[in-house]
Amino acid sequence: MLEATLSQALYGVSYGLLLFMLAAGLTLIFSMMGVLNFAHASFYMLGAYIAYQFSTWFGFWIALGAAPLMLFILGVLVERWGLRRVHKWGHVPELLFTFGLSYIIVELAQVIWGRAAVPYRVPSELDGPVAWLQALGITFPQYRMFMMAVAVGMLVAIWLLLTRTRIGLVIQAALTHPQQVEALGHNVPRVFMLVFGGGSALAGLAGVVGGNAFVTEPAMAGTVGAIVFVVIVVGGMGSLAGAFIAALLIGLLESFGKVSDLSVVKLLASLGMPLAPDSTLYPVLTLTLSQVAPVLPYLVLVLILIVRPKGLLGTRED
C-alpha cells in the first residue's frame, strides 16, 4: 500500500515538474511582456516533434539539445517579426496573435508529420524501471526520474540566471520598471526578445522530455495547454514560486485522482448512510474520483477563484 502510494506520488511529482517547465516559460513571458502566450503549448508540441525528428536522425541526446535551440530561434523570430509589430495595437491583439499562431503551428505540424501520433520513444539507455527503487518495491520508470532531473536542473539554472547574473538582474528590473531600465541604456526590446526566445526554449525542452513520456500527437498542445493556464492562474499570475506549487498540486491531484475509486455514494455508505440507487442525484454521486479526474484541475481553479482570487502566491489584483 505504502509502495503504491509512493509510486503514485512520484508519478504526480514528475508530471507536476513537467507542468512547471511549461508554466515557468509562460509566467516569465507574461510577467515581463504582459502577453499571455497562447502558442506556448504549441511550442511544447513542436519541441516534441522536432525532438522526434532529430532523434531518428542523430539520436536522443542530440535532440535534447537541438530542439530547445530550434525553439529558441523560432521564439526570437516570432517576437521580432510578429509580436513586436502587433505590440502597438495593445494587449488583446497580442494575445490573439499568439492564439492564431497556435492554430497555424498545430496545422503545420499536421502537414509535416501527419495527423496520427509519431513513434517518438524513450532512449534505450533510460528504458526500464529504476533499480534501487525496484529493490524497495516501488516500480518507477527511469525516464520519469530523468524527466524530474531535467526539470529540477532547469529550475536551478533559471534561478541562478535570474539572481546571480547581470542579464538576470536586467530582466528582473525590466519586469517592473522597463522605462527606467531603458533610460539606463539597456536595450529592453532585445531583453524581451531573449526572454520570449528563452521561454519558448523551455517549452521546447518540456516537449523533448514530455513527448516520449506521453504521446507525441497534434492534440498534445490542446490537452496540456488548458492545464498550464490553470497552473498559472492558481499559482497567481506572474509568480514563479506560485506556479511551482500549483504545478505540483495539479500533478499530484491528477496522479492520485486517476487511480482512486472513491465516490460520494461510497463515502456515505462507509458512514452508515447507504443511498438508494433510484434517488435523484444518484448518477452524479456514484461517479468515482477517477471518472471526474479530468475536471479536477478546473474545479481547483474555480475554488481558488472563489476563495483567493489573486491565486496562491499572486500579488496582482487583475
Binding site: Y103, V111, W113, G114, I232, V233, V295, L301, P309
Partner: protein, 433 residues
C-alpha cells in the same frame, strides 16, 4: 467655447428603418437567388453564426472581455433545446418548435448567471484564462454524464415532430428552406435586439467599463456587476444561436461546447471587426465560408483560416469592417483614384504569393496524408505528380516571385496609403464640424 450640442433621442429614425428593412428584405429574398441545397445549408449556418458572433461581440467589442469559452453557453443551450425537442416529440411538453431557441436562450442565460459570477470577477487576461478553464471543465464534464449529454455520439432529435406552425400542415420545418426562414426570422430579431441593447444605458456603461473601469467605478458603477449583466445577456443570445443549431442539425454533441467552437466564434468576431456593431456579421459570413465551403475543397482549411486571421491581426486589427470603412473614407474624399494602381499591384502579387503557398501546402498535405492514393494529386483541376520535382519547383518559384514582388508593391502601397490618410486627417482637423 464650443457650443453645446443638443442630442435628441430618436431610436426609430428613418435611416434605421431603411437599413433594417433592407436587411430583412435581403434575408427574405436570398433563397430566390440561391436555392440550391448547398447554398441553403451555407446560408442557414451563416444566420446562426451571425447571432453567435454578435452575442460574442457583446463581450469582446462592447465590454472588452476576451472570452475563450463562449461555446459553453450556446452548446448548453443547444442541449436543452434538444431535450425539449424530444419532449415535444414524446408529447410531454406543449411548446412550438419555432420557439425552441427561446428555451435554449433561457438555458444559456441561466448558465451565464452561474459561470458569469465566477468569470467576471476578473477582467483582462485572467478573464480570458478563466473562461478557457470553465470551457474545458464543461467539455470534460459533458463526456462524464452520458445521460444528459449523450456521450461521444451526442443526442439526436426530430424537428418535424412538433405541431405545424400556425396550424398550416405543410409548415413542419422538414424542408431546409423552412428552417432557413426560421433562422432568418430569429437572426433578424436578434440582430435588432442586440443593436438596440448597444443604445441602452447598460450598453453605454459597458463601453465605459471597457475603456476605463476605474473611472466607471468612480462615477458609482460596480464594474463587476456590469460585466456580469452583459455576460448574462450575451449568453442568452448565444443560447438562441445554440437552439437554432439544434433545429438545423438535429444533433448536438460534446463538440458543441468544445474549445474548437469557442475559438471559432472568436475568430469570426475578430475577423469581421470587434469595434463595429456590424463587424461580426461580416466575420460570421467569412468564417462559415471558410469552415463549410472551403473545407469541401481542402483539408488544410484551418491552416488557411489561421494564416488569414494572423495576417488581419498584424496588419488590420480592426478587422474587415475597419478595412471597409477606411476605404470608404478614402472614396468619400475622392482620393481613391491614387490608390487604384497600388491596389492592383498589391492584390495581384499577393494573389501570386498565395497561389504558391497554397500549392506548396496542398502538395505537402498530399504526401503526408493521402499517400495511399498514389503520388498524383489534382490542384485546381490540373494533375500534379508529387513524386517528381517539377510541381515543387514550380510552386516554390511562384511563391518566391510573388513574395518578392509583393514586398516591393507593399512598400509602395503603404507609402501612398499613409500619405492619403495624413491628408484626410489634416483636412478634418482644419475643417471642424
Amino acid at each position: 467655447m464650443a457650443e453645446l450640442r443638443v442630442i435628441t433621442f430618436r431610436p426609430l429614425n428613418f435611416g434605421r428603418w431603411v437599413i433594417w428593412g433592407f436587411t430583412a428584405l435581403l434575408f427574405a429574398l436570398l433563397p430566390a437567388f440561391f436555392s440550391k441545397g448547398f447554398a441553403l445549408t451555407l446560408m442557414s449556418q451563416m444566420g446562426i453564426m451571425i447571432v453567435f458572433a454578435l452575442s460574442y461581440n457583446m463581450l469582446l467589442g462592447q465590454s472588452g472581455m476576451l472570452s475563450f469559452g463562449h461555446a459553453v453557453y450556446s452548446g448548453l443551450g443547444a442541449f436543452f433545446a434538444m431535450h425539449a425537442m424530444n419532449r415535444i416529440a414524446a408529447g410531454s411538453l406543449d411548446w412550438p418548435i419555432s420557439l425552441l431557441p427561446l428555451i435554449a436562450g433561457l438555458a444559456g442565460g441561466f448558465f451565464g448567471v452561474i459561470f458569469g459570477y465566477l468569470t467576471t470577477r476578473k477582467a483582462g487576461t485572467p478573464f480570458a484564462m478563466i473562461t478557457l478553464g470553465i470551457g474545458e471543465m464543461v467539455f470534460a464534464a459533458s463526456l462524464m454524464f452520458p445521460g444528459f449529454f449523450g456521450g461521444e455520439g451526442g443526442i439526436t432529435g426530430n424537428r418535424t415532430a412538433g405541431p405545424p406552425l400556425f396550424g398550416i400542415s405543410s409548415l413542419t420545418f422538414g424542408p431546409q428552406l423552412q428552417v432557413y426562414y426560421l433562422i432568418a426570422v430569429w437572426c433578424v430579431a436578434c440582430m435588432v435586439a442586440m443593436f438596440a441593447l448597444t443604445h441602452t444605458p447598460l450598453g453605454r456603461i459597458a463601453n465605459a467599463v471597457r475603456d476605463n473601469p476605474e473611472r466607471a467605478e468612480f462615477i458609482g458603477y460596480n464594474t463587476q456587476r456590469v460585466r456580469w449583466l452583459m455576460l448574462i445577456l450575451s449568453s442568452f443570445f448565444a443560447g438562441i444561436a445554440g437552439g437554432l443549431t439544434a433545429i438545423n442539425f438535429e444533433i448536438v454533441s460534446a463538440e458543441n461546447v468544445s474549445a474548437v467552437r469557442s475559438g471559432g466564434v472568436l475568430l469570426a468576431a475578430f475577423i469581421g471587426g470587434a469595434s463595429f456593431f456590424f463587424g461580426p456579421i461580416l466575420g460570421a459570413i467569412v468564417f462559415v465560408f471558410f469552415s463549410v465551403a472551403l473545407s469541401e475543397y481542402t483539408k488544410a482549411w484551418q491552416l488557411y483560416l489561421g494564416v488569414f486571421f494572423v495576417t488581419l491581426v498584424m496588419f488590420a486589427p480592426g478587422g474587415l469592417a475597419s478595412l471597409l470603412l477606411m476605404n470608404l473614407r478614402v472614396m468619400k474624399f475622392g482620393k481613391f483614384k491614387r490608390l487604384r494602381d497600388p491596389y492592383v499591384g498589391v492584390l495581384l502579387t499577393a494573389l501570386t504569393a498565395a497561389l504558391g503557398t497554397v500549392m506548396l501546402i496542398e502538395l505537402t498535405y498530399h504526401v503526408t496524408l493521402d499517400t495511399g492514393q498514389g503520388p498524383v494529386t489534382r490542384l485546381f483541376g490540373i494533375p500534379m505528380d508529387t513524386g517528381a520535382p517539377g510541381p515543387w519547383v514550380l510552386a516554390a518559384f511562384v511563391l518566391l516571385c510573388g513574395a518578392l514582388a509583393f514586398e516591393y508593391y507593399r512598400r509602395h502601397f503603404a507609402e501612398c496609403w499613409s500619405e492619403i490618410q495624413i491628408e484626410i486627417e489634416d483636412w478634418i482637423r482644419d475643417n471642424p464640424t
